[in-house]
Symmetry: C2
Subunit: 169 residues, 2 copies
């Protein structure tokens, strides 16, 4: 459920330590049709609109060869997200889950990841399908997608009887 | 080819801008068997050793529910990598490719991504298979892996006749 920044029943915030263990440089920006969080999709869709990754100098030469791949991993920075909410209630019903078990934009380091289809490259701009963010979202990295290591078609969601888990803490 | 930090024929460095567009917090560390870059594998292997993701406070509550998934995306920080090398020659033969077309650790923001299999959770520690980094590598984020959006089994590598590409710049 999309929201601004209110806290829901059962949720837990922590005192956020200073985020200065390492520093990021924005290598570009993502141009999408979405101007507010309320209209932005929750996940990128492979039948969604073509969006543009605009690369800034001095990083433009680093795109040489990206058109060798049909698919790319796009890593970006959700600059509007709060970072201190460790337990979250996605359905606002008092049931909570940890930030690391959700694809929520709210996380200690609001790094987003989308697997996109590359349509074409023009100058400093990549045309892609599959991102899910606001227009002008800062871009952090682009990587080739390899089916051999990145594709797990039989990945499952649900409780697994064969899994040893100690959640007694 | 593993190397320390020398520049090869044809490679291009840029003046690295200050990396302060946003700040990261290390949420934990990755424990692996590898103590030097020369012995660290180039990609995580699904038949590799079990490694441990140790989560630091105050982030430990954020792992609640991760054992709902067979597979996770692990995002980490390659703290030893240089960041200014935009054109790279992986085979050291004068042929170069851009950092964004390689899975090299050398990139403007040295963020690494591995799709891992979750074996078990014990206290603040996740036991996983599939990372490819030095022991004590800083951890940035953990996300559930969804086959529906993250698995592209037919992603291809190679030049694509159906792709419109202007690389004339």
């Amino acid at each position: 459920m999309v929201r601004e920044s209110e806290i829901r029943d059962g949720e837990l915030t922590v005192d956020m330590p200073p985020a200065r263990d390492a520093g990021l440089v924005f290598i570009g920006r993502i141009r999408t049709p979405w101007k507010s969080r309320l209209e932005t999709p929750r996940q990128g869709r492979h039948d969604g609109p073509v969006c543009r990754l605009e690369i800034f100098e001095p990083w433009v030469p680093a795109i040489k060869g990206v058109d060798f791949y049909t698919n790319l991993e796009v890593i970006y920075w959700l600059h509007l997200s709060r970072r201190d909410l460790v337990l979250q209630s996605p359905k606002n019903n008092g049931n909570t889950r940890g930030a690391f078990s959700l694809r929520s934009p709210v996380r200690p380091n609001p790094i987003a990841l989308a697997v996109v289809e590359l349509r074409k490259v023009e100058g400093n701009t990549l045309h892609v399908v599959g991102v899910d963010c606001l227009d002008n979202t800062p871009l952090l990295d682009i990587k080739p997608y390899f089916a051999s290591t990145d594709s797990i078609p039989d990945a499952r969601v649900g409780w697994h009887a064969d899994r040893k888990t100690d959640t007694s803490r």
